[in-house]
């Protein structure tokens, strides 16, 4: 039983043993900054925010505008599909042909000088790399080169065993790797009658940390060999060395996405034409996905992306408008600071 209290002492205690400590903290009296925003300060804040956001927006927009970007869709180009009429026919012909698929050329006229490096991307549309089943369809430890028992690779279903035979564990397993994009490209520059192949550098297109740490240096096993059932293609050499594969494995957030395919380390000037030789193999016809080829330079901010600039300008502009509105309202309904007339018990009484 806890003993509460002590003996009843009649004399007042000489020593105040229970007196709380008198410190700024215990008395809730810590030094503090207590900002109260007066109308002038509010307007200043609004304007200051506008003053920061709008120039940043303008800078972003300028950067984005300075980027030269050309894009061309090729999945429906007649030469690339053996002049098939619709997607079903295109898909059938694609399987019939097999191997390197259809070879075709797509031309892009350069209207503005493009400074090196020029990045070449492929873009897929309506492809849900962000689908949960697709995202989880991999095993990161296996990709790192660890030995993984089949029993711990549940997430790779249904692409865990080749042809369903339990002794043939697919490595790298799972949906993401299985549907590896396998169109290939070559780029040429055509000036007047003169056509020369542009060196498409295909190293250094993936994240460095991915190549160095995330993917292992090992030979793929039991990988994709059934063209009819696959979208995808084979991995060239060791897993980490096929940077197209590494790039593919960074699943994209949106169903329309582009992926870096190669880098041209050379300026391409106005008046010349890009000719991209495509070997069209990847099946997007079943779900009606578009495929495009994109050539782009970058600025300090990156690729062509007006969103960021506009967002900043809209936010800054809003701040400016709100500040102005506030100022006007303040001038028309002046309320003296701390005036008692606005107290609720004054108004109601």
């Amino acid at each position: 039983m806890p003993t509460m209290g002590g003996a009843a002492e009649e004399t007042p205690p000489t020593k105040l043993r229970k007196k709380p400590r008198n410190s700024r903290f215990t008395q809730q009296n810590l030094k503090a900054w207590r900002p109260v925003l007066t109308p002038v300060k509010v307007v200043l804040v609004f304007m200051a925010v506008a003053l920061v956001l709008i120039p940043v927006g303008v800078a972003c927009l300028t950067a984005s505008i300075s980027v030269v970007e050309y894009s061309s869709r090729y999945d429906n180009v007649p030469e690339c599909t053996d002049r098939a009429n619709d997607n079903r026919e295109r898909e059938q012909k694609l399987y019939q042909v097999g191997g390197d698929g259809f070879l075709c050329n797509v031309s892009i006229i350069v209207e503005e000088d493009m400074k090196a490096p020029i990045f070449m991307y492929y873009e897929l549309d309506s492809f849900f790399q962000n689908h949960r089943r697709y995202v989880k369809g991999r095993d990161d430890e296996q990709l790192k080169g660890k030995n993984r028992a089949a029993s711990s690779l549940d997430d790779c279903e249904p692409r865990l065993f080749q042809n369903g035979s339990r002794d043939k564990v697919i490595n790298p397993c799972g949906l993401t790797a299985w549907s590896f994009f396998n169109d290939t490209f070559r780029a040429f520059e055509s000036q007047a009658s003169n056509t020369s192949e542009l060196g498409l550098r295909q190293k250094g297109i993936a994240w460095r940390s991915d190549v160095e740490h995330r993917f292992g240096a090992y030979e793929p096993q039991n990988f994709n060999n059934i063209p009819e059932l696959r979208g995808g293609g084979e991995i060239n050499g060791l897993v980490r060395d096929d940077e197209h594969f590494v790039v593919w494995m960074r699943t994209a957030p949106l169903p329309t996405f582009r992926k870096l395919w190669g880098i041209i380390d050379r300026d391409v000037l106005q008046g010349s034409t890009f000719v991209v030789e495509i070997s069209n193999r990847y099946n997007t016809y079943r779900f009606g996905g578009k495929k495009s080829i994109i050539l782009s330079t970058t600025s300090w901010l990156g690729g062509k992306n007006n969103f960021l600039g506009f967002a900043y300008i809209v936010a800054g502009g809003l701040s400016f408008l709100l500040g102005t509105l506030f100022f006007v309202l303040h001038l028309s309904f002046r309320r003296p600071l701390g005036s008692e007339d606005y107290l609720s018990w004054r108004r109601s009484g």
Partner: protein
């Protein structure tokens, strides 16, 4: 030890009773053998009684896990998260890793468990200390054996020495006192600090050793009632060749302490859990605050929203899948775990969505609130403004869960005595023989030399009345007391009576001045007053009183004491005077005594007038009378009385009947008036509370006139206020009651209207007396009564019983839909304190019963204004903010998952954030700032709130409607913020970066998460009005500041261990990307908060809250007197201006007596 031969009245009669037969006990009987002979203590042998081991600790080492987990999971939110975690453990079902729920849940549970362990540790320590205390056990044939308390058995004979606690409930067998008495202090038991006297079992009175006891008790056994919780009742008997009755005065209770007596020997009757103190320790009712009730409702609402989103997602998936059957790369939609379109798949997807967005209900809310409230309580305990230096009493939070309710109190139900008044009684006036003395004594006493030992500032100012003193001196010199063998002059008789007729026990103090131990402060005042006038009570024992009358010793033999109780409202002592006559001295309430006066009605009218005058001055009155008894009459009566007092059946009623027979035909001596001094600062406090819109009700056992006068003096009733009365006599039957109530209600409305016309608002007070209250508390009148009360500014209930106090409290609590606070200091307030939403105990003179039952305890009533207006208001605002913010931050965070799945990833329940982020969101990045806010935030300063109590109204008036209104605004912002923080980084980061590479889904998730963290932290920042270094540290330094290093380290881990693959390399990549900084770190959070900021700025400027106006005033004027002056004029129009010093004059003004 030379004991002062004194005796309290309590057991005096019963002590003379012995060797009597009694009726056998009814019902279950416990038979206790006296275990005087050493016997083998066979531990395995199961005793029918429990051991004396007592455990107050909640847990044992082994039971802790089970009990604590059980308690925690009886909380619905914890159970919910356990359920989610269980779902996550089903392989292939959960879209997120099981760690994401288990980790925060374990974190939350372990904080709570740590708190419980901390609390229980001290209980264990004190248990261990108590159980291992040692006591001597007497055994025949050997020296006393030291035994631990825990090893005591029922029937053991123990010897307890002075100043020790009794180890169990003992039958008192003997003490060194010749009469077989001992003194005990029961402060731990019932809170009363005065000493009580106990009687031993008479037969063993002289026994000092085991052998003697064995002889006396040999062959006898103890029979008594079974263990119960009644502290003041015990029925038993020692059964041998005959039965000898025992009662509560023979029982020494565990929890009380032996005082002033060298030692006692006792037999263990009840041990361990059977002791009365353990039987009395019941768990206090658990109180839940209004905020928590709203919060629980809110959890349900949010849960419903979550179910809707999940159902929508499940249906959406079905449709999406049917449209996307060409997405061959998503192959394998045929069966568990990935069904195709259809019912099974929809159900599974529904569950997946529930798991995915489960944190819409904030997992950390309850534990955050707990932490915050404990911290707030520390600040309450530490507040020097609520520390009472005179008694060295700090404020004490006894419950740590009710803080925010303090900010919403609408009714304060207050006890009077000891709470509003000091319970320091001053004997101020006396009406003797038709003369009123003492009324002007303070004014005229200045030039006189007061008697020895009387100070000019004594509360007993009667002693200063020069007229009275000369009257006493003159008469005493004319007629020497000694010769006449007593006193019979009116004045002399009067004070002689006061000195004799009481239960005050004097003990020798310094300089031979007696020190008085009194059960009632009124009596103490009267005895002291008499002493100052020369009638000194020197000693009191079982059968004698020794006085010193004007320097001469007078001895009286006490023949009987008829005790005071609240039903009798009087007490009497029958004495044999030195001249051999027998006289009955009686004093009591005016109505009771006046009805018992004999035919000699001398001075009756004058006395009645004086009584009225006394009452209206706010004084407590007693009427004093006597009766001379003849030998025959007394003897005849005493036989009857004796029989009654030893009866075992209905003893109380029989004694009362006997007493009633003798207390008749009394001769009036006069009346006394005792002043009940107000506590410091009471009128100012009540003023403040009513300015804050809090209605103060006074519930007192005093009579109507006294209650009304105290109400005036303590500012409850304002000058110019009209009063409406509900009196017992108007409520004798139902129809009358109905009419009276209707009439009163009409009066209230009429007077309110009249008062308004002259510029006073709600200046009507209601006075209800106990009889009327009993009627209006009946169900059919409750509503009407309450609605009438609501219209009155103050309500005073007088002559109420403790039970009625609790009933009134319940009425206000349940029917008025408002928070009611009960405040009191006495055991009679316990019911009120426990049934109120908040119980406040005043640690005063009436012991600790109220404090032990209370949620908060403090030394002075005046601290209430700071408790409510400052701490209560702060707590309410802070804790509401914590609750709102918890829902806000989780909603803003979790909605990204909904957007991703609804609009982008085909309802696939793909998580936006990876496991490391989900598991740390609530615990690491968003909890500290809100905790710091809830501990440190001060929207306005304490001084401002004390000067402007009206500020309290804002919080007080908020109910569930305003709660949900404010919540919907929070959730609206959560929605807007979630859209901004989702869209901005997502769309800024799906484009190529400067080196041409692209980010992926993982990195986008981390970027969105970064934006969320910064936004929700900025949200706290813009809402903080009081920026201490601590706030800055937790917001900038820890929550935002530590996130970036954390993210960086997580991104590196994959290089070395196979952990967090989804984070691998992400931070390094993001840090090198300008768009990340521009979107997630700056753009999205800044834009989100810009919206908050502008809404706040516009509202503060063009629709300012009262709080905002006072923030501006603080800024403008500083927290100085200037502002207090300015604000005090704000209410001048509301109530009549009060004149300073007016509160001292307590006469009722314009009381509209019906």
């Amino acid at each position: 030890m030379s004991q002062v031969p004194t005796l309290s009245s309590l057991p005096s009669i019963r002590s003379q009773r012995s060797h009597l037969h009694h009726q056998p006990l009814k019902g279950d009987v416990r038979t206790v053998p006296f275990r005087l002979h050493p016997e083998p203590r066979n531990k395995k042998q199961k005793s029918e009684f429990p051991t004396n081991y007592v455990r107050t600790a909640k847990y044992t080492f082994y039971s802790f896990l089970f009990i604590n987990l059980f308690e925690q999971f009886s909380r619905i939110a914890n159970l919910y998260f356990l359920f989610i975690a269980a779902l996550q453990l089903i392989p292939q079902l959960s879209p997120t890793h099981w760690i994401t729920t288990i980790a925060p849940l374990v974190f939350v549970l372990s904080i709570n468990a740590a708190k419980e362990i901390y609390d229980d540790y001290y209980r264990h320590k004190s248990d261990g200390e108590v159980n291992n205390r040692e006591v001597d056990v007497l055994v025949v044939g050997s020296r006393p054996v030291r035994s631990k308390w825990r090893d005591l058995r029922v029937g053991d004979i123990v010897k307890v020495v002075r100043d020790q606690e009794f180890p169990a409930d003992l039958l008192f067998l003997s003490s060194p006192d010749d009469d077989g008495l001992c003194w005990v202090e029961t402060a731990n038991l019932d809170g009363e600090t005065n000493l009580k006297l106990k009687n031993c079992y008479p037969a063993s009175k002289a026994c000092q050793q085991a052998e003697q006891l064995a002889k006396e008790l040999g062959g006898k056994r103890l029979e008594c009632e079974c263990p119960n919780e009644k502290l003041y009742q015990f029925e038993g008997a020692v059964v041998g060749s005959r039965e000898e009755g025992l009662d509560a005065s023979n029982l020494l209770l565990r929890g009380s302490t032996l005082r002033k007596t060298e030692w006692i020997i006792g037999a263990v009757v009840f041990s361990g859990e059977h002791t009365k103190i353990r039987r009395n320790q019941s768990a206090a009712p658990r109180k839940v605050t209004q905020l928590e009730r709203h919060m629980n409702m809110l959890v349900l609402v949010v849960f419903a929203v979550q179910i809707l989103f999940s159902a929508g997602g499940a249906i959406g998936r079905d449709i999406w899948l049917r449209q996307h059957n060409g997405d061959y790369y998503l192959e394998g939609t045929s069966g568990w775990p990935e069904f195709g379109p259809g019912v099974e798949g929809t159900l599974v997807t529904f569950l997946r969505f529930v798991i995915l967005i489960n944190v819409m209900i904030p997992i950390s809310l309850y534990v955050t609130l707990e932490v915050v409230k404990v911290a707030q309580c520390l600040f309450l305990n530490w507040d020097l403004e609520m520390y009472h230096e005179d008694t060295d009493t700090p404020f004490q939070c006894r419950t740590t869960t009710l803080n925010e309710d303090l900010g919403q109190v609408e009714y304060v139900l207050s006890d009077k005595t000891g709470t509003l008044t000091q319970n320091v009684m001053g004997f101020v006036w006396a009406s003797i023989g038709g003369h009123l003395y003492g009324r002007d004594s303070r004014d005229v006493a200045g030039d006189l030399n007061p008697a020895k030992g009387v100070k000019l500032d004594t509360p007993h100012s009667i002693a200063l009345d020069p007229n009275l003193r000369t009257s006493i001196e003159r008469r005493s010199s004319r007629r020497p007391q000694k010769e006449r063998g007593g006193v019979d002059t009116a004045t002399g008789d009067f004070f002689f009576h006061l000195a004799v007729c009481n239960t005050v026990v004097p003990s020798a103090g310094d300089d031979n001045e007696p020190v008085y131990q009194a059960e009632s402060p009124d009596e103490e005042a009267l005895v002291k007053g008499a002493r100052y006038l020369g009638y000194v009570l020197m000693a009191r024992s079982v059968d004698a009183v020794q006085l010193e009358v004007l320097g001469q010793r007078v001895d009286l033999k006490v023949l009987a004491v008829l005790e005071f109780n609240s039903a009798r409202k009087r007490m009497s002592i029958i004495c044999r005077l030195p001249n051999g006559k027998i006289r009955l001295y009686c004093k009591g309430a005016d109505t009771v005594i006046m009805a018992r006066l004999g035919d000699r009605k001398q001075n009756r009218h004058a006395t009645c007038d004086h009584l009225n005058e006394m009452a209206s001055a706010g004084l407590r009155t007693l009427v004093v009378a006597y009766r001379d008894l003849s030998e025959d009459l007394f003897n005849e009566w005493y036989d009857k009385y004796h029989k009654a007092s030893v009866s075992l059946v209905q003893r109380e009623a029989k004694v009362e009947e006997a007493a009633d027979a003798i207390e008749r035909n009394l001769v009036l001596l006069g009346a006394t008036a005792v002043e009940d001094k107000l506590q410091e600062g009471v009128p100012e406090t009540i003023d403040r509370l009513s300015r804050a819109g809090i209605k103060v009700w006074m519930l007192t056992g005093d009579k109507l006139e006294t209650a009304v006068s105290i109400s005036h003096s303590c500012s409850l009733f304002q000058p110019g206020m009209k009063l409406v009365f509900l009196r017992e006599e108007d409520f004798s039957d139902t129809t009358m009651a109905k009419a009276a109530l209707a009439q009163a209600r009409e009066d209230v409305i009429r007077l309110t209207v009249e008062q308004r016309r002259v510029g006073l608002t709600t200046a009507v007070g209601l006075v209800v007396d106990g009889g009327a209250l009993a009627v209006v508390l009946k169900v059919k009148f409750q509503d009407e009564f309450l609605s009438m009360c609501k219209q009155c500014r103050a309500v005073v209930c007088c002559r109420v019983s403790p039970l009625q106090k609790a009933q009134v409290t319940n009425l206000v609590k349940c029917k008025a839909g408002a928070i009611a606070l009960g405040i009191g200091d006495g055991a009679n307030d316990v019911g009120m304190i426990q049934s109120a939403h908040i119980g406040v105990g005043i640690s005063g003179r009436e012991g600790r019963a109220a404090v032990l039952a209370s949620d908060f305890s403090m030394a002075q009533f005046r601290f209430l204004s700071r408790l409510l207006l400052v701490h209560g208001r702060w707590s309410y605002r802070r804790n509401t903010e914590v609750v709102m913010y918890a829902f806000y931050k989780n909603f803003a965070y979790v909605m990204a998952n909904v957007y991703l799945n609804y609009f982008i990833s085909g309802f696939s329940t793909q998580p936006m954030y990876n496991a490391a982020l989900i598991a740390t969101y609530n615990a690491f990045w968003t909890s500290l700032p809100t905790i710091a806010y809830a501990i440190l935030e001060k929207d306005v300063q304490a001084e401002t709130m004390m000067a402007t109590p009206e500020l309290y109204m804002e919080a007080m008036r908020s109910d569930w409607r305003s709660f949900f209104r404010s919540l919907s605004s929070w959730l609206f912002y959560a929605l807007v913020h979630s859209i901004i923080v989702f869209l901005w980084p997502m769309y800024a980061l799906v484009w190529p970066e400067p080196d041409g590479k692209l980010l992926g889904l993982n990195a986008a998730g981390v970027a969105v998460y970064t934006a969320v963290i910064i936004t929700v932290n900025l949200k706290v920042a813009v809402r903080t009005h009081h920026w201490t270094a601590l706030n800055a540290l937790v917001i900038w330094g820890i929550s935002i500041g530590m996130w970036f290093p954390f993210m960086y380290v997580c991104s590196l881990l994959w290089q070395w261990w196979e952990v967090l693959p989804d984070m691998a390399g992400v931070a390094q990549r993001l840090f090198s990307v300008p768009a990340f900084w521009l979107s997630a770190v700056i753009g999205a959070p800044m834009f989100s908060i810009l919206l908050d900021f502008s809404m706040m700025a516009f509202e503060d400027q063009f629709r300012p809250s009262d709080t905002r106006i006072f923030q501006e005033r603080e800024q403008k004027h500083g927290i100085s007197g200037g502002m207090q002056e300015a604000t005090s004029t704000t209410t001048a129009g509301l109530f009549d201006a009060r004149h300073p010093g007016d509160s001292g004059s307590p006469l009722p003004r314009d009381a509209a007596l019906p």
